[in-house]
Amino acid sequence: MTFNLKDISDDKVQDLVREAEFKSGKQIISLISHEMRTPLSIISSNVQLLKSFRFNLDEKMVNDTFLLCEEAISSLTDFIENVYFLNTAFKGEVKARYSPVDLNLFIDEVVNKAADSEFNRSRIKVKKEILMDPFFTDRILLMRCLDNLLVNALNFSSEDIQLEVLSRENELVITIEDQGIGIPGEEKELVFEPFKRCSNVKMISGCGIGLPIVKICVGLLGGSIDFTSKLNQGTEFIIKIRNHEC
């Protein structure tokens, strides 16, 4: 049950609530604008480069410039989509649509999407134990969920990442383990709250929407999420999802 401060008919409390809302709103806007600045800089700087040299650059440089723009645009698009998803999910407008998914192909696709470079692709160590029959779930929601977890693991760790996929008759168990910076014990409650960032990641880009989205997706898929984490040693997320055929 949630306790709504607005129910209290006290002007002072009302003022405090408005102030807090304004502050958190300001903070969210600041986080979002900050998150968008780096990809925007990349696009802007590369376009200026092409413009000032009228494409009169060697071919490798021109290709690199386009590639950098494309990468930045796709990271911006992902970000906007995540914010949009969070908003619609909060309004209760997202519904799961189940269909059969070939888990083997699906997992490859997830890994390729999450790893933005060849180097990162090689850092994800996949272990699959998958039944032949297709698994019934919402592939878009599951994709969004796993993508966010993998990107987090890549960002907050410099070592390899273990992705373990185990499919059973009626359940899919996915484990993602990293040896990264970990989640501080006293902040474990906060990680699924949107726009809350742990104290040890303040200096890493991000705005605190990844794990809330993961939690929403898992909820919509009728599953559960759990994690264990040790500061500066690593974090392990375990997701269990029900097969919707049965």
């Binding site: 990809p39 700087s45 200026q48 470079s117």
Partner: protein, 361 residues
């Protein structure tokens, strides 16, 4: 002129590659560091002319990178420009208070970035050159010989050095230190130079003999200190000063008096010179025994006794009582003392005696 080197410290690889491309096509040489720690390491290894640094990095952020580099005399002069998404005034202020040279907010215009880099580089170069020319002037104006050498070969010298040794500067630069010193002098300093070049001692000084062009050998005082290490060589700076004046106190006083008199247009020669010299009594380096000998040969026993008591400030009557002689006899001895020392009165005699340490008080 060789390309200026820029080090980019940025954890977003897309942005660092973009910056590298922009700078490379504009004629800069670029190195990339993906973390703060790597950035600090490369700042030392690569010795860039300018550093572009992101603020939001983990675990070492841009502020820490700046502070660490600012602590070292090797890296603290490199112009430092922050690139950050933080546009809040508070953050800009913090960066500037730390002392960074400039602050560029993402997204930026390439032109603005290039202009900032150009301005900082020019300022840096001016600063370096100003420092260099001041230093150069100081070295050139020094009355002492200054030279840069690696323990053996002499690389740089100032004018004074060449004048002291009496060899043309161009010829000197091809010579080894060993060639300039007498063998015995070189043997003395050889091990000390070795210790300096291996960091066992920081500096030393030694009296050495230099084989100059004018005379067979001249004595100088040599001060050597380690300067800097470069590719395994240790450069040392040597300072060559004339050996300190060994003239006695008396001779110095005499010289000063002569120069004062000559300023007053008094020519110190003939009788006056004789008198002065006698007054200052050369040779001046005298041992205790020679002083006594001199006073004994100059004055009779009675005269010495009178002189001694007069120096104690006693009046004639007391001296007469002390020596059991008449007042008149005391006066006679005093007159004799005045005559022998060329003094007009007894006060001058006393001054003469004290100056020449003829009496023990």
């Amino acid at each position: 002129m060789s390309a200026k080197k820029v080090l980019i410290i940025e954890d977003d690889q897309g942005l660092s590659r973009t910056l590298k491309n922009v700078l490379t096509v504009n004629g800069y040489e670029v190195q990339i560091a993906n973390t703060g720690a790597e950035g600090i390491q490369k700042a030392y290894e690569y010795s860039p002319d300018l550093i572009l640094c992101d603020i939001n990095m983990s675990p070492i952020d841009g502020y820490q990178v700046y502070n660490i580099l600012n602590d070292s005399s090797i890296t603290n002069k490199i112009p430092f420009i922050y690139i950050s998404g933080k546009s809040d005034l508070e953050d800009i202020r913090l960066g500037m208070e730390l002392g960074v040279d400039d602050y560029i907010v993402k997204p930026f215009s390439n032109e603005e970035l290039l202009k900032s880099i150009k301005v900082r580089l020019a300022k840096y170069e001016k600063l370096m050159n100003a420092g260099k020319s001041d230093y150069q002037a100081l070295v050139e104006l020094s009355p002492n010989g200054i030279f840069l050498f690696d323990g053996d070969t002499i690389y740089e010298i100032n004018q004074a050095f060449s004048e002291m040794i009496g060899i043309e500067s161009n010829d000197l630069k091809k010579m080894n230190l060993k060639d300039l010193l007498t063998d015995s002098s070189y043997a003395i300093i050889q091990s000390k130079i070795f210790k300096c070049s291996n960091g066992l001692i920081k500096n030393f000084d030694e009296i050495i003999e230099v084989t100059t062009a004018r005379r067979s050998s001249d004595q100088f005082k040599l001060y050597v200190t380690t300067s800097q290490k470069y590719k395994g060589f240790t450069f040392m700076i040597g300072l060559l000063a004339p050996v300190e004046n060994t003239k006695s106190k008396e001779q110095n006083e005499y010289d000063r008096l002569v120069s004062i008199l000559s300023e007053e247009k008094v020519d110190v020669s003939g009788e006056l010179a004789m008198k002065l010299q006698k007054a200052f009594d050369f040779p001046a380096v005298q041992s205790q025994s020679s002083q006594k000998l001199m006073s004994e040969s100059l004055f009779s026993k009675r005269e010495q006794e009178v002189l001694k008591l007069s120096c104690k400030g006693l009046p004639i009557k007391i001296i007469a009582d002390e020596l059991s002689i008449s007042d008149r006899t005391v006066e006679k001895h005093r007159a004799s003392l005045m005559e022998k020392t060329g003094s007009k009165n007894i006060v001058e005699v006393i001054i003469y005696a004290l100056k020449n340490e003829l009496v023990d008080l």
